[in-house]
Amino acid sequence: MRKRLYVWAALALIVTSGGLQARPVSYPGGWTALWFTDAIGDALWLHYSPTARYSVGFRAERNRDSDFVFYGGQYTRLLKRWNAPGSQANLYLNTGAGFAFDTEGDDFTPRGSALGSGFLGVQADWETRRWFASYDVRHLVIDGRPDQFVQKLRLGVAPYIAEVGDWHLWFMVEGAHRDENEDRFSVTPLLRLFKGPLLLEGGVSDRGEFLFNAIYRF
């Protein structure tokens, strides 16, 4: 397990230290707070972009399915952005390391000793003012526990084209595949509302599980 963490760290270093063209995750000096709730848990990120090319921050997450909490540092690098007259596409690398703790049921109080943990993820998106598509994959390793692999595909359409400062509305659908203790698939139709620095998303999956995401930039 420890060997695998070293391999990840090495891979992340190779990818992020190369001469890859990169764009900001946010604008230089910008902060981003993100909250995610889905079928298996919740996550909170707080990110700062020191330059136009990457962000560093804190990530806390709790997993209701596999009964653990994770606290650690996270690094997100915009590996590549494609800017076109009517569209934008991005490729991000997302990696981090920290500690996980066992929990029990709905009680998220950390129990027992800290378990070394790390993850590596890639996110890609393409967006126009009308259409949206994204793919997101993440592999999480926790010392002494089964690996967790999650991939998500999302498609969206805006029913109207909003201008800067207006409320932007998106109809989206997200398909998720989680390979934890067993394969698990879910489909979640959701609404995205977006105005200025605030983005909100809410939906209910085909399994009746609630999704809520919020992003705020400042």
Binding site: P24, Y27, A52, W82, S87, L91, E127, V164, F194
Partner: protein, 120 residues
Amino acid sequence: MKTLLILAALMATPFAQESKPHSHEGEVLDRTVTERVTPVAGGTIVAMNVNGLVCDFCAIAIDKVFRREAGVADVAVDLSDKIVVVALEPGTDIDDKRLEKLINNSGYDLVSVKRGVAAS
């Protein structure tokens, strides 16, 4: 390995071609451009055609980056026309190279620049 293969495939996809911005100087700009900002009397207005503008986060990034620049009095982003309009204080200017850097630092690509004044 799965992750790396996906990463490699996405990076190889040609998406948009970058081109050098070109500049037009000193003309009286169209009212539809200048009315987006509050011009300062005697100040230059810079209108930039920019690639990659698709959402409010884009507009916020441009706004924050340009407002930190000395001499900038006002900034406006229009997603439909894909332009960024900047009103400068009298006696100040930002050269094309600097404009391109500011746009790049915001995360976008500069296509062309027009400098001028508001019609009286």
